[in-house]
């Protein structure tokens, strides 16, 4: 016989109840706290990036500008700059620069940059974060004048229009992300050309055609699984298949391109395409699923064939959803770094990619490279590049959401 349960009454009951309520309140607070940790982490991340991208920079000129000209720096004209460059640069270096783009055709700003980069040569002594620059400016100034009496200290935003338009450079002060942005755009372009039609096709097959049998189940399970395979494994696949196996195609040697190996933007773009394929298929399937069955039955009812139904009724109605899903998948692949490292993105390249068979670099690759450098000025441009990447991603996602809201139909 079990003992009959004694239920508390009166004060005991009140005590028990208030204890339970208290516990519930504490835990509610704890649950909310967990969410807060996530938000604090996000804020910390944003702060960290913004903190790095702006701040004081302390530098000296290796050769004082007054050695080349008596005119103050900001009053130098194009003609003066040209003659200085002509006189002071070694003839070999001048010819090389002239070959890239004739110096006479360059603008004043470009020449100024060359002058600063090649002749005056900045020597960065230290960089400071935004927080330090704002809140302990006096201390920094005092420190700097003591340690580097000749140095110039100024507040610098590492994220400038120039940063977006200049190519890679081995010196952080002159480096830009143009090559990297173009590389990323090439990659996204190639991967969408491959993955969008193939992914939509696979989704249509699975939703509209596939019979209920083991093969369809296997394909579906397999796609879901592929979405979870680490991206670096796709990188290894790309290295084995696109870079080595299909080298005649991806290097362009089949099409008469010489001086290139398989580590091209085409090989990387296809790798990215394969990587984003599962996600595109899954998203497209959702979009096709959302098309009501009545539409299909109406089409069949007037005698349309299956393909006509798909082409004229299902796809047009699912298209906004498919595009939205694809943009989201692509924005994911835009930030992918690991597979690009494996298939061999060039880390230092200052020539814009001009064909599918070009060597390339990409935004996340640059961020990785600059983050792992020891000098703090490279961390600053890494932060600036992160801001560029995040803005790109935000724009893509916003486009996707606008697209969805604009074309979404309620059935």
């Amino acid at each position: 016989m079990t003992k009959p349960t004694v239920y508390p009454e009166g004060d005991d009951l009140q005590k028990l109840l208030s204890g339970r309520y208290q516990k519930a309140a504490i835990w509610q607070f704890a649950f909310l706290g967990a969410l807060m940790v996530a938000i604090i982490a996000l804020m910390g991340l944003i702060y960290n990036v913004a903190d790095g991208a702006f701040g004081f920079i302390v530098y000296e000129y290796k050769t004082a500008p007054s050695k080349f000209t008596s005119t103050p720096l900001n009053e130098l004209s194009k003609a003066e700059l040209l003659s200085i460059l002509n006189n002071e640069l070694s003839s070999g270096a001048y010819k090389k620069l002239d070959n890239e783009k004739p110096l006479t055709k360059r603008g004043q700003a470009e020449l100024m940059e060359l002058f600063m980069e090649r002749l005056v040569r900045m020597d960065v002594k230290a960089t400071y974060s935004l927080t330090d620059s704002l809140f302990s400016a006096d201390r920094i100034r005092a420190e700097v004048t003591e340690t580097y009496p000749n140095a110039i200290i100024e507040f610098r935003s590492w994220l400038t229009p120039q940063f977006l338009t200049s190519p890679m450079s081995s010196r952080a002060e002159f480096a830009g992300v143009r090559t990297a942005i173009l590389g990323s755009l090439w990659l996204v372009g190639i991967s969408i050309l491959f993955a969008l039609p193939v992914g939509t096709g696979a989704a249509v097959y699975l939703q509209e055609y596939a019979p209920k049998n083991w093969l369809s189940t296997a394909i579906q399970t397999n796609i879901n699984n592929l979405a979870g395979v680490p991206s670096i494994v796709y990188g290894m696949l790309g290295l084995a298949v696109f870079v080595r196996w299909l080298e005649p195609i991806t290097s362009g040697s089949m099409f008469g391109v010489v001086d290139s190996n398989g580590r091209t933007v085409l090989a990387a773009g296809l790798t990215m395409g394969i990587l984003s394929l599962p996600l595109i298929i899954i998203n497209a399937q959702e979009a096709i699923k959302a098309v009501p069955n009545g539409l299909r039955q109406a089409a069949y009812g007037v005698g349309a064939t299956r393909w006509q139904t798909v082409w004229y009724h299902v796809l047009p109605n699912a298209l906004p959803g498919i595009l939205t899903g694809s943009i989201l998948a692509l924005s994911r692949s835009l930030g992918e770094t690991a597979p690009l490292i494996v298939v061999g993105a060039s880390t230092f390249i200052s020539i814009d990619p001009s064909s599918p068979f070009s060597k390339f670099t990409a935004l996340p690759i640059q961020i990785y490279q600059w983050t792992t450098r020891a000098q703090s000025e490279f961390h600053a441009i890494a932060a600036a590049a992160i801001i560029v990447l995040l803005i790109l991603l935000l724009t893509l996602n916003a486009t996707a959401i606008t697209l969805r809201n604009k074309f979404q139909r309620r059935w």
Binding site: A24, Q28, A34, A41, L45, G201, T221, P230, L390
Partner: protein
């Protein structure tokens, strides 16, 4: 039959066009269907290619005369160039960072899921959900920057010189933050799928919201949560950039989170990033590691899917 026809004026037979209603073979239809089928099958082809290509090179690696499975799984030094093939030097770091990541993301992710699914009002959800989605959408290389230049300095402030510049703790912590949104959203889905009649029954018995969430909803959603954890583990094992940036370069057999060590993924990224000649032992060994990674994550994903599928059947 005849009586019914009476009184109806019959049309002559030739007024009807004869239609053949038998199924016809339409060539364009067939082409379309075949093409679509091929795109569908492509995913299988990709999987087979992964297994085949990784397997082929890994096979070359294990075919080397002095590489044995016993050495591979039984020793703790990894330096294929000089004949050391102990994978544990890399696995130890992968395990350590993954365990830290899960230890962070599991309680936090679960707690936020409970809050979002059981407590939060519609308005609160519409604020918090996008924030978690942003967190999930940040590229991992950015997390790497965050780990190395924000978390590591803080940790060095706490532990002083006891912690190296590159360490597994920082990488693991940030990885936990990265996985948090994934675990949170998958668990929330599982909890939202629990029929509200279960909750109402608990409330009717006088249970508090906390008791209902923890003792009724959570157990009912347990399989979905399990699936989320498994996916989280698979994500942590396969994560590359955070560990490549923040955890250190160079295989190191240690489970001490304050030390620098290289994970399997970090090793692949570092070695393949350099100039690597094809058919060298280094090149082939990378494929052996990648194959291991693929198999581990593939099995984890399969298990998780299986759990979710079974769980869906129960309530729908």
């Amino acid at each position: 039959m005849e009586p019914i026809r009476e009184g109806i004026k019959l049309l002559p037979d030739d007024r009807f066009r004869k239609i053949d209603l038998r199924k016809k073979i339409r060539v364009p239809e067939l082409i379309a269907q075949a093409t679509l089928f091929l795109t569908g099958v492509l995913s299988i082809v990709i999987t087979v290619l992964i297994v085949f290509e990784l397997g082929k090179e890994a096979f070359l690696f294990f075919g080397e005369s002095d590489v044995t499975l016993i050495k591979f799984f039984g020793t703790t030094k990894w330096q294929p160039g000089i004949g050391q093939y102990g994978i544990w030097a890399l696995v130890s770091a992968t395990l350590t960072t993954s365990v830290i990541a899960i230890a962070i993301s599991l309680p936090l992710g679960l707690a936020s899921a409970v809050y979002l699914s059981e407590y939060a009002s519609h308005n609160v959800r519409s604020i918090f959900k996008p924030i978690l989605e942003i967190l999930a959408g940040i590229p991992t290389v950015v997390y790497g920057y965050f780990a190395l230049l924000f978390v590591t300095p803080i940790l060095r402030g706490i532990f002083g010189e006891g912690i190296s510049v590159y360490n597994m703790l920082s990488a693991g912590l940030v990885m936990g933050i990265m996985i948090l949104p994934l675990i949170s959203s998958m668990s929330e889905d599982a909890m939202s799928a629990v029929p509200s009649s279960l909750r109402e029954a608990a409330y009717a018995m006088g249970a508090t919201k906390f008791e209902t969430s923890l003792q009724v909803v959570l157990p009912a959603a347990l399989s979905g949560i399990g699936a989320a954890i498994i996916i989280g583990i698979s994500r942590a094992v396969g994560e590359t950039m955070i560990v490549a940036v923040a955890a250190g370069a160079g295989p190191n057999f240690t489970f001490d989170p304050l030390e620098a060590a290289e994970t399997m993924t970090g090793h692949i990224a570092r070695i393949s990033g350099g100039d690597l000649s094809y058919n060298s032992i280094d090149y082939n060994s990378l494929f052996a590691i990648a194959l291991m990674l693929f198999l581990v994550t593939f099995v984890l994903n399969l298990v998780s899917q299986h759990i979710v599928a079974r769980y869906r059947e129960r309530y729908e």
